[in-house]
């Protein structure tokens, strides 16, 4: 039975369980729902959950674990000598997978019977040609060991699947039977369902946390394999970023970090004043109509995909800057300081525009959290509105605003699309904002795209860059949240 139908079956069983449980509870109370401990639906839900949850949990775990078990048992079958020169067990196993998938397809299409697929021998049939007819392209002729392994693979996989179907079905039935048996009018179904829902919520939270940890760990291990290939002193303290494929690359993060921080700095230079003033206007000056119109508008701006900003940088802002600072005598200033559209300034300006709504909407919330009594106190002393804002509201909101700025900085540092399109690709230390520079995120993209070998330092460096970036932004976020939270407490 395919997994899909198995899931459908379990759900159908659970639905049946719901009705059965509900009916049994009502019956045990002689049809009078008021004699029941809980509402009838709780009894149904109890049976439903007991049927569904353990069965589906086991199903999920089984689906996750089975492939590695099969892989392990099959790879044990391949003898050392069956692995050709300049190949690895991993590559052979990939062949095995492909052949196994080919056989699966052949059976599905009816080109082979299940019987044939299990017993076919390379000595008697040209398997490559037969699979080729079905559209499964194999790189070389199928070697006997590989075919045997593939057949073994299919056999183990199939029996594993069979066992899974049996176990899951039995579990669902057992859950149904057990909870149905326990359903009577004094059973505290409501409390049990409450616990079940609690467990479900904990599970969801756990899943979110675990995946995050998983991501970090996988990055971490890849980074370790990078540091086995490349010296960490060069990575953290070297001065040059020059990857090449001869194997003597200089891969230092510092020039990239410089570019990242420089662009982020310019972005904040744009976003912080504009965003803050916009927030002050919206929260202190704008009347209800303007606010009702402008706030959602700003929030929509915050939802523009960054690739769109990237296009804006590349096609509009970059050329505009060139026409001012470049083009020699034809340019607006008659100077030739800027040659291409990509530059620190281009990326920084556009990133700043992207961050404006982010800064303003956070600051707006924070300014609104300053108690009205504070403003009244100042106005009551004969201060004007702007004096009140400058001398009372902003100082009171300052810690929160600093937190907002740090959050914006963390976004700027992690931003990718705008810098990929607007900043350029040259890693260097320079103070000139009209030159192109590159950032950590840009390099991660370029090291991982294109023809790459996932075992070389030039590729693996992406993970080391990624984890450094992660630590950097995580640090900023933690600091920002700490500051914002501390500030919140002040007024509670």
């Amino acid at each position: 039975m395919p997994t899909f139908w198995l899931v459908v079956f379990v759900f159908a069983l659970a639905a049946l369980g719901f009705l059965a449980g509900r009916a049994r509870a009502l019956h045990s109370a002689g049809g009078n729902a008021r004699d029941l401990h809980s509402l009838p639906n709780y009894y149904g839900a109890n049976v439903l959950l007991t049927t569904l949850v353990p069965a589906l949990l086991v199903l999920g775990l089984w689906l996750m674990i089975q492939p590695s078990v099969v892989q392990y048992r099959v790879s044990g079958m391949i003898p050392e000598q069956a692995i050709p020169e300049n190949s690895t067990l991993g590559l052979v196993m990939m062949d095995v997978h492909q052949v196994a998938a080919g056989l699966d397809l052949a059976v599905d299409e009816g080109a082979l019977t299940e019987q044939e697929a299990g017993t076919i021998r390379t000595e008697f049939t040209d398997l490559r040609a037969r699979l080729g007819e079905l559209g499964v392209a194999l790189g070389s002729d199928v070697r006997p060991e590989v075919l045997q392994a593939a057949q073994r693979y299919r056999a183990i996989d199939a029996s594993g699947h069979r066992n899974m179907v049996i176990v899951v079905t039995l579990l669902a039935l057992a859950g149904l039977g057990f909870s149905w048996q326990h359903t009577n009018k004094d059973f505290r179904a409501r409390n049990v369902v409450e616990q079940g829902i609690y467990a479900l919520l904990v599970l969801a939270a756990l899943l979110a946390i675990l995946t995050t940890i998983g991501i970090v760990l996988s990055m971490f291990f890849e980074s370790i394999s990078f540091f086995k290939l490349h010296s960490w002193t060069d990575f953290f303290f070297g001065g040059t970023w020059a990857p090449n494929f001869r194997g003597d690359s200089e891969l230092s993060i510092l020039p990239l970090l410089w570019g990242t921080l420089y662009i982020s700095f310019i972005a904040l230079l744009v976003a912080v004043p504009v965003g803050l003033f916009a927030a002050v206007y919206l929260s202190e000056y704008a009347n209800g109509h303007v606010r009702a119109f402008a706030k959602p508008l700003l929030e929509i701006l915050a939802g523009i995909p960054t690739i769109v900003y990237g296009l804006f940088a590349l096609l509009t802002v970059g050329p505009a800057l060139v026409s001012v600072f470049g083009n020699g005598p034809e340019g607006l200033l008659g100077v030739d300081w800027m040659s291409g559209a990509t530059s620190v300034l281009t990326a920084g300006l556009v990133m700043g525009i992207m961050l404006i709504p982010f800064v303003s909407s956070l600051s707006d919330d924070i300014i609104n959290a300053v108690p009205q009594t504070m403003r009244d106190g100042s106005l009551g002393l004969g201060a004007t509105k702007s004096e009140t804002v400058r001398q009372v509201v902003l100082p009171a909101a300052l810690p929160g605003i600093v937190g907002a700025i740090l959050l914006a900085a963390s976004r700027a540092i992690g931003e990718t699309m705008i810098v990929v399109m607007g900043a350029g690709a040259i890693a260097k230390f320079s103070l000139n904002p009209l030159e192109s520079m590159t950032t950590i995120t840009t390099r991660i993209v370029s090291q991982l795209t294109g023809d790459t070998d996932f075992a070389s330092a030039e590729t693996l460096v992406a993970f080391a860059l990624g984890i450094t970036l992660f630590v950097l932004t995580l640090g900023l976020n933690v600091l920002a949240l700490y500051i914002v939270r501390k500030y919140r407490e002040q007024y509670e």
């Binding site: 009594t373 009244d376 106190g377 009551g380 002393l381 004969g382 201060a383 001398q391 100082p395």
Partner: protein, 265 residues
């Protein structure tokens, strides 16, 4: 008729500081203050009493145009301060508020040092020519606010770190520092404990020497203790206004009597 404690407090006839004529206040459609006429005297404490929601705060806030900060609030009628209509377009509400100071229900010190809290108004209005003068204003205000002895050693400490009662006296001192002529207080003791309340009440009695004080209060005992004149508001109307002793011992209006004896509240 008057009992002795209140007769002692009554003072000789004073000049009128503020007089309100046919004041109406609307919040959007709702009519919050109806036809109020009242004369508030100089160097006198006037108490506004009445059940909650009757418009005491609203009327108080008309006296220094704090209602201007509420968009939907509209004020009609005349309020004369020393004979000049404060709602005249010529009058700058910001200047007016320096003359008519306000103390709020909840102590609201700025998140600044004690010194800067007091110096806030004088700095804004340029009352001091140099640091020495400013120091002097700060000290004088804190002394008048009856809090100097408690804070003189820690003027640089944040004002928010004081106790509730100290914060409220700090706010009174802060209001005094701009040298107002009238001091409006909206339930200044409602967030304070009895001891702090007693200190603030004592302070209000002293302030009467120099200012005209208007205080909104929920506590009738407080009104009786600190005020010479009392105004009773009910549902947006000024029901009765007169000598405090008169109002408390021999009210004319049955509504006042019911309120004072606890039948409406």
């Amino acid at each position: 008729m008057y009992d002795i404690a209140t007769t002692e407090k009554t003072v000789e006839q004073q000049v009128t500081k503020i007089s309100a004529r046919d004041v109406q206040v609307y919040y959007g459609e709702s009519h919050a203050i109806k036809d109020v006429n009242v004369d508030i005297e100089d160097k006198t404490v006037t108490a506004f009493i009445g059940p909650s929601g009757c418009g005491k705060s609203t009327f108080l806030r008309c006296l220094n145009r704090m209602n201007d900060t509420i968009d939907i609030c509209k004020v009609k009628g005349e309020i004369l301060l020393d004979g000049e209509n404060i709602y005249d377009p010529k009058v700058d509400p910001v200047q007016l508020r320096a003359k008519v100071g306000m103390v709020f229900q909840k102590p609201n010190p700025f998140p600044k040092s004690i010194y800067d809290n007091i110096a806030y108004g004088p700095r804004i209005h340029g009352l001091a020519r140099n640091k020495a003068e400013l120091d002097e204003i700060v000290e004088k205000s804190l002394r008048r606010g009856a809090i100097w002895n408690e804070v003189k050693d820690r003027l640089d400490a944040p004002g928010t770190g004081l106790s509730g009662g100290q914060q409220q006296r700090l706010c009174i001192a802060r209001a005094i520092a701009t040298e107002p002529e009238v001091l409006l207080m909206d339930e200044p003791c409602s967030a304070l404990d009895p001891i702090a309340t007693a200190q603030v009440e004592e302070l209000i009695d002293e302030l009467r020497q120099n200012y005209s004080v208007v205080i909104v209060t929920h506590s009738m005992q407080q009104a009786a203790r600190v005020s010479q004149k009392t105004a009773f508001f009910h549902l947006g109307n000024l029901v009765e206004f007169g000598e405090t002793g008169q109002i408390f011992t021999n009210p004319e209006d049955p509504r006042t009597e019911s309120y004072i004896t606890g039948r409406i509240g």
